[in-house]
């Protein structure tokens, strides 16, 4: 296969380093894969014989399960390693863990790690494909890709959309990947949250900053509401969950004031009554469960493309005709 400008290369580390055409190619490839999860027998032979390790140094349910479904529905052989009970807790270094796995002849590693840059670090040191499932506060590219796919499903196209990311942007890898991806696809991006939780210099990326949620709602077509980590109060970023909800909570009263449809995304898991009220999360404009469904399709697309699949042959690949 000759590399095209939409091919991904060896790894998926983040959206900052991808081009718009690479991102669109992943989203386009995800579309035909959605249908597999609707079948009675949810399995195609695309990755038959491939060995994938899900290497999770941080606890995760949603992302790990989503990757595992994607891998299994594509017929890959998968092994899960989580930090508790692995040699990581016995002091083995990240690079040694990776080399040991490599020595067992694997094809891909899906890695989640608490340190920014850890996925890139691994990718630079092993020949397997590496997929970043979240590194520290840096990037969570598959989450942003599924957010982009969900926005595209809702609005038809992303270019020109006004998307505001609400909450703890400072500590959020979801926010960073979304900002990079949305800007590349031509959306207007804003962030809104307590000033203590917005990164310095973020405006230099071409992002609008709102301190008040009312302003953000008046501006946006869609809100991507981030989870508020409960430990942020202890480290002094804000006084209380109650105050957070009162000032920055996404409530139906605030959304109604906009007098138009505002699509609501949330990467989960939600703190109901803190960053988002239940009637919003469960309301007509919430696409939170569509995000989860799209997550499996997007991850299938990424796995397929990194394994050398071509975007325009995804449909054939599902029947085992190619890969």
């Amino acid at each position: 296969m000759s590399p095209t400008d939409s091919s991904l290369g060896k790894d998926l580390i983040g959206l900052e380093t991808l081009s718009a055409s690479q991102i669109v190619s992943i989203l386009d490839t995800a579309d035909p894969f959605k249908e597999i999860s609707e079948r009675r027998i949810k399995k195609v032979p695309v990755l038959r014989g491939k060995t994938i390790v899900n290497l999770f140094f941080e606890p995760s349910t949603r992302t790990r399960v989503s990757f595992e479904f994607a891998e299994k529905r594509l017929s890959a052989d998968t092994v899960n390693i989580s930090s508790s009970g692995s040699s990581v807790t016995k002091g083995e270094t990240l690079v040694d863990t990776a080399r040991n796995l490599e020595a067992m002849k694997i094809d891909m590693v899906v890695v989640r790690h608490g340190s920014s840059g850890a996925a890139r670090f691994l990718a630079d040191r092993i020949p397997s494909n590496v997929i970043n499932a979240g590194d520290g506060r840096h990037e969570h590219p598959t989450q942003a890709l599924l957010d982009l796919l969900t926005l595209r499903d809702s609005f038809g196209e992303i270019s020109g959309l006004k998307v505001c990311i609400v909450g703890d942007v400072l500590h959020s890898r979801v926010a960073r990947s979304n900002i990079f991806g949305l800007l590349k696809l031509g959306a207007e991006v804003a962030v809104c949250g307590p000033p203590t939780l917005l990164p310095r210099g973020i405006d230099q990326l071409g992002v609008t900053v709102f301190n008040r949620i009312e302003e953000a709602i008046a501006w946006a077509d869609a809100l991507n509401v981030l989870r508020l980590q409960l430990e942020r109060m202890k480290s002094g970023y804000l006084p209380s969950l109650r105050e957070y909800n009162q000032v920055w909570g996404v409530t139906s009263a605030r959304l109604d004031a906009a007098k138009r449809k505002i699509v609501i995304l949330h990467p989960g898991p939600m703190n109901r009554g803190v960053e988002i009220d239940s009637d919003v999360a469960d309301g007509p404009h919430s696409v939170i469960l569509e995000q989860v469904t799209n997550g499996v399709a997007v991850r299938m697309a990424v796995l397929y493309l990194l394994a050398g699949g071509e975007p325009d042959r995804a449909e054939d690949a599902k029947t085992g005709g190619d890969s």
């Binding site: 900052e16 270094t93 990240l94 690079v95 790690h113 608490g114 340190s115 920014s116 840059g117 850890a118 890139r120 670090f121 590194d135 520290g136 506060r137 840096h138 990037e139 890898r173 960073r176 990164p199 310095r200 210099g201 973020i202 230099q204 990326l205 480290s235």
Partner: protein, 432 residues
């Protein structure tokens, strides 16, 4: 008795004596015996042809981590002293943040004994300000000075308790040594791993803002002014910090301060790609800060060029960025970096640079040398200003290789490092 040495025909740059001309330098019995256009040497003298070379008072680095005792896998006093000599330094000041911390006269004695066996640069130890560098109780400052300490510092740990810093600045006056502080307010830093700015926001790395350093610099300057104490500010990296020191000096505050080669030549963009060899504390800052540090070095606000040589083992830097330790090595690249990238392009003149690397550090810590005054110690550095070379960390004499300057093209390379009239480094031997 060492053989006399005569250095013939070099460009002698000796800022303390306002000399910059072609001359001979004669060293006899460990002392400078003559600096003249044509010096008469004893017959048995070893003759060094210094034509086209620069001859300076021995270079001094007042900020070096030697890691011994406790972390000898990173560096030892012997390897550090020899790496210093290879970098053209005749003397270095060792930091006390070892394991155990050098906070008593026995520790100072240990460093000096190890150094005397090294056959490299002289080592002048600093002792801790506080017991165990824990920031609570003053260490045995008087006894350490009596044992040979030339200053005190809790470097690596800023003195967070302003009352303790005041006490140190007062108490140390009895012994006429500077109190060196690593200016950083840990309450503002909060675990930051790089400069706070656009790069940290993009990479998702915890940022340390300039204000963490600025607050602490201003506090230290106020305390030095209040106590009349002798303050030395380590590795200044911010524009505001440089200006605050400049203003304080105008008011007559007794303060000296350092600039490092890396803060003069790099910005936080060097962290791009999560490069752990660009992780140090204070962090690489913005280009505005970099220019301010350079201006501070030019106008003498920052008196001293110091490397903050901080060796770490390869494995320790071969980690995710958050998990890698702070610090880079500097002894063997310092001269070539600043000569090649500051003097050659005309950003600083040679005489000023030699002042910042010899006379100013000698004055700041009351050390012998820093001048080619007849009768002074025969510590001399000879370097080839025309030698171009590229940094190959594998060739370092230091035990560690953690430098962001690997592959950089430098100009200016030490030919001879002479300590007390004895050649402790020669480029010919190193090459042969």
């Amino acid at each position: 008795m060492t053989r006399p040495v005569v250095i013939r025909g070099g460009r002698v740059v000796d800022p303390a004596n306002r000399r910059d001309d072609i001359a001979d330098v004669l060293l006899v019995d460990g002392r400078i015996a003559g600096v003249e256009p044509r010096v008469a040497a004893p017959e048995e003298a070893l003759e060094i042809d210094a034509t086209d070379a620069v001859v300076t008072p021995g270079l001094i680095d007042v900020h070096v981590h030697l890691r011994e005792p406790g972390q000898e896998h990173k560096e030892t006093i012997a390897t550090g002293a020899r790496a210093a000599a290879a970098g053209g330094f005749t003397a270095i000041c060792s930091m006390p943040n070892t394991d155990p911390v050098i906070d008593d006269p026995a520790g100072i004695g240990f460093v000096l004994r190890q150094a005397s066996k090294a056959r490299g640069a002289r080592v002048y130890p600093l002792g801790a300000i506080s017991v165990g560098q824990e920031g609570e109780q003053l260490a045995a400052i008087g006894e350490m000075v009596a044992a040979g300490a030339v200053g005190i510092t809790d470097d690596g740990h800023p003195v967070m308790d302003s009352g303790l810093m005041r006490m140190a600045l007062e108490y140390a006056q009895a012994f006429d040594v500077p109190v060196a502080d690593h200016p950083e307010d840990l309450g503002i830093t909060r675990g930051g791993v790089m400069n706070e700015g656009l790069v940290s926001s993009r990479l998702g790395l915890r940022g340390t803002p300039n204000s963490a350093e600025d607050v602490h610099i201003v506090r230290d300057l106020l305390l030095a002014e209040h106590t009349g104490g002798r303050l030395h500010l380590q590795h200044v990296s911010t524009a505001y910090g440089v200006d605050a020191i400049r203003q304080a000096k105008k008011r007559g505050v007794w303060v000296t301060a350092e600039a490092t080669p890396h803060h003069l030549l790099l910005t936080d963009e060097a962290v791009e790609g999560f490069n752990t060899n660009a992780k140090m504390n204070p962090p690489l800052r913005s280009s505005l800060d970099r220019k301010a540090v350079l201006q501070g070095l030019q106008d003498g606000t920052l008196d001293v060029l110091a490397t903050d040589h901080a060796p770490h083992h390869y494995d320790e830097k071969e980690r995710a960025f958050d998990d890698a330790p702070f610090g880079i090595v500097g002894l063997e690249t310092s001269l070539g970096l600043v000569y090649g990238h500051l003097v050659e392009p005309g950003l600083i003149d040679l005489s000023t640079l030699v002042d910042r690397m010899s006379w100013a550090p000698a004055k700041a810590f009351g050390l012998p040398g820093g001048t080619l005054e007849v009768g002074g110690v025969a510590d001399v550095t000879i370097f080839d200003p025309g030698a171009e070379w590229s940094v190959d960390p594998k060739r370092f004499l230091s035990k560690s290789r953690n430098t962001p300057f690997g592959g950089w093209k430098l100009k200016g390379r030490p030919l001879y490092t002479i300590v007390g009239g004895e050649i402790v480094f020669s480029a010919d031997e190193a090459a042969g």
